[in-house]
Symmetry: D3
Subunit: 255 residues, 6 copies
């Protein structure tokens, strides 16, 4: 059930304790993919995954601004401080739990949110406010398997605005990818994320290592690849929701 479109009486008649909260970011994704990439991917997977799960699942609206200061040198990137983001997500989940939806999967589309969402999930779970786990769709996907099936790429890694994200947008909303700029995007892209030494990433901002904000080769994207990613992420989420629904969520006691 999509909360945004439902009335409160409809929401009240749902028999479930499961909810998903999509969380994205509005931030640069190269010259070819939209600033809203992380929102639209998270939302699409959340809605589809929720609909495929067996118990009914409530879908909350998508939180559109996350932790993205690392992209602030590229126009249009929006962000809030980590503390603010954590509070906003935590309190939103707490309000879901207030209505009895106290098993919550946060469906995340942005790497920069991962650490904060784990912290929020721990707090809510330990306080027994809501059992909450963050699901970052691209961390759930077996990239090697998908590459073998539907991609010519030598290597299919997440990158940023690279083939993975670009393909998913092409599948979901093809008009939002500027395909005529894909080779330009390749040209200004970095090969990998960051600049590493002794296990340490020496940089904090994408502008330190990528000319146009992209990491990876956007030109290797395709709607077909996007469909495969979508399909696997959706299945993974649906399976996760069923696992969460049945899980014993009692907290361990002091040893």
């Amino acid at each position: 059930m999509n909360l945004t479109a439902a009335t409160w009486t409809d929401a009240d008649s749902v028999e479930t304790d499961l909810a998903v909260l999509p969380v994205g970011s509005t931030e640069q994704h190269g010259p070819h993919a939209p600033l809203g990439t992380d929102c639209l991917t998270a939302e699409a997977i959340a809605k589809k995954g929720a609909s495929q799960a067996d118990p009914e699942v409530v879908v909350a609206p998508t939180i559109p601004v996350g932790i993205a200061e690392e992209h602030r040198q590229f126009t249009g990137t929006l962000w809030v401080q980590p503390d603010t983001f954590r509070s906003y997500v935590r309190e939103t989940v707490a309000s879901l739990a207030h209505h009895g939806w106290d098993r919550v999967v946060i469906v995340n589309g942005h790497g920069g949110n991962v650490d904060a969402l784990r912290e929020v999930g721990a707090r809510l779970t330990r306080d027994e406010m809501a059992y909450t786990v963050p699901f970052t769709w691209f961390d759930s996907v077996d990239m090697d398997e998908i590459r073998e099936e539907v991609s010519d790429a030598d290597n299919l890694s997440m990158g940023h605005g690279g083939p993975v994200e670009t393909s998913l947008v092409q599948y979901l909303q093809p008009e939002l990818v500027q395909t005529e700029r894909l080779s330009e995007a390749d040209a200004g892209a970095a090969d990998g994320w960051g600049e590493w030494h002794s296990g340490v990433n020496l940089v904090y901002d994408s502008a330190e290592f990528s000319e146009n904000g992209t990491v990876g080769k956007p030109s290797e994207s395709s709607a077909e690849l996007g469909e495969a990613l979508h399909s696997q992420a959706v299945s993974n989420l649906a399976a996760l929701l069923e696992t969460v629904a049945e899980r014993d969520i009692e907290r361990p006691t002091h040893t």
Copy 2:
């Protein structure tokens, strides 16, 4: 320009210092109107108003969860604490300003956000981070004028989930209004907001004075009325944006 759909390079090529940030709430609107009413009305008016203004205007994504603890007894209502909401909005506006869009109109669809947005606007403006004013669409509309033109109602006041909001949703997304429940909605509605004594509202939660969360007569709604409201709000916003664009925003000095 809709930020969500644009690439950063597109956003970078816009010549403007004007942005709008739609802010809504996900909260009960009676048994007939969707929980997302305040988001979809704010977003629709923001986009249309921005497109009608003469200087180009950047449209940020819609913030979906606001200050709505007052409706928490009705299922599906989401909320964060006022401090969290203020920080989330303030920092989002600050990130808009970081890109040079430092004249910002917050387009608001929810009464419970009004005080907080005024506080945020003051802070951002006084700190010279961004000249920021909140525009709450229903406070801009001349209800009497509209009532005379397109409504049979004796009285057209804002209410909550009443004819004003319901009509606007009917105009924007008619499938989201459960018209078959309008008379039921009337039956459980309150006549006015709160319970007053000596200029003081003695209650804090809508469940204290409304059976089903509604204030006003939803059955007096119509798509025609919605269109009139939309049209006037959009014109008001466009005019405001032009005023803001030309305004001298230097702060006054100590007397």
Copy 3:
């Protein structure tokens, strides 16, 4: 019972759960009225209103500094940040409640405090710390009725340092009004508060629209008008206290 003057043993022997907390501001009120206007009016009305109410009422000391950054361009205006003010008031009320005085009316003399006090009242009430409502004396008064009775003014609106506040000070502490400056005050005053467009106040500071900080015509003030205002505000407060004393303050449950 005036807490400041009482011993703890006297306070302990009072049989009541009712308290009032006067809250003012130290801020400019034009060239003719004192910086302490909002404190002395709130305190006077709080004490008199409490004494006229039927159940005994504890009167806390007056909080003298509020939210008044909007007047900071005028010398002598003091202010704290809204968050600080909210915490200071909320915790003071909580300490009243600790002694069993858990029905609290905050008697407020300053418009800039209104939103914050409503937020504080909501928090304390919903947390069942204390049922708390803010009473802003000038919002309780029927200005039209009073104008007809005792004023020649065409229009009697609140303004700032205008006839309403000036009159009340004249009645309470006439030596604090510089009557010889009233026409000068008129000359530098604004007609109304702020600068409005499409339901939006475009300004944040009084120095943006008033030369000397005044709004309204101070020369229309009189001690007689002040007495009428005082009398009505006091009666309203006393009536409110009796209502609060008898009110069922149990919180509504989830629908």
Copy 4:
């Protein structure tokens, strides 16, 4: 100049950078002395001391609620958390400094505020917001000297609601001391503050060591003693203000 009674134009015409901010507490002072003792003593000394100093001194209104949780078992005691108190005082001083009064003496009447005020003074001074020092009147007084002059007591120490504070109230507002309860007050009083072991005070609340909240022998109080205390505290404050006025307040640089 008393800010509360002055207009902003009067405040504006003062040529000084000196201000005093009286800070008290509303808390139990035994069965015989008023809850407002610390406010009225701080305010009286602040006003008189300011008037005796040579440069003109602005007197801010008195902050009435401080750090007094230690007395909360006695009815009528009000308190806020230390963080809230520090913010409230710090921001009030910052607003004084905004008008050019950036040498501020906080005149304090309550022992429980001392640590917090020192922390606030350090912050304001180091940030070069305002050179700020807290003056706690009873720490400035030479008790031995005064005892020899005007008291029969063997020992004149501060205590709580003891001869020192009680005498000062008797001198300032005799009607607020319940002299008929002085022997009763003696009977339930503690000899000293706290319960000590190895330089550590083992208790946190006055109810842990005093039956009626008093420390010391209130019956040894007299208006004459109060006058002597007042006179010395006032002289000390006036001398301090002159010292502060002439002091080089530049911060030391890194060695």
Copy 5:
């Protein structure tokens, strides 16, 4: 230079802008390894690495309590909230920078601190307070290489209180490892960290998946393995410090 043992004049005579701040945790490491494991490993590697680097490096004292709520079911585990830890580390680094040591490597011994330290490093670096990167020693080590050289283990992964950490303590302070309990430790250990589904760790506390808090086979530890780990971590840190010393740390500008 070890700050703790130096005088301020000695510290003042050092010509460097490099500092390391060791950060550990006091938390369970199974029945065989000490609660202080993460502190002593971080401190040893920090001191040795600093001494091997070419530019002189200031070594700050070790922060002993970190983010370890995940181990709280096991006696002796200490922890603070993530916000508190971030502030404590950030302000400590800022004080190092105050003396000109504004290139700081945080040497970390605990997995639970990693996310927070990255956030702190980003904040300090972006604010140009200090260029700060966290070095987590075990993330710098090539476990496969070391396993081939000095271990019989099929697999050498970090675990918790497993062969990696246990070996390092055996090398550094052999008396702190209870070797007679190693097989008992194996028996109650988990094979891996957490419980995973679709890329999501479903648990938050180690007591949810490990009987005695250990992850990995402690019995595969040896002082020889510890020496190899130490040696490589120290070399990595020394190399990192030289890289940091020479790095251009100017922040990128807006594109």
Copy 6:
């Protein structure tokens, strides 16, 4: 039991509710004594005192950075803000209490921490999280008695980096005192702490009144004096721990 060196199973087998938490500071102590003076003195006394007390006592690791902004003009001084320090200590004690060690003595070596630790102890005690008292070793010692026994000094007061602290370091870790600089240290030292007027300390930083950060005559130090100080402080702490162990820690009720 020293937590750092113990395993969690060892910690679990201790039958006690007593713990000590050593708290120091890393800050200048003149040209002759180490920056870590306050840490090493607090830790030594805590460990020895704990071992001499009759009930078993858990010893937590030493918190190395405190409130020392007052010494920041001297190189190597580290500090955090008071709020951060209070949270860090409070939460560390709360984690001790989580394991049943809910009678906690904080053993403090730094004057600048005293006020904050008292505030923390009050909060933890009143919230019934843990009965917590701060023991500042030099406030427990009878300086006159010790001076008569083992010192030629006319006066033995605490100072800063003076004979008291220097002697204790000489006793504990003689290699850390630069004895050849003692007369130089004397030369740049202040006689007393601060600059006083009317009971007010007019300065906030040690650099305002001491050339080299020292207060007192370091040349009057000796290992013998250090031993006497240590011995008395240790006895005092042991006696305090026994008192705390047997104390009735129930909170007083409202009078």
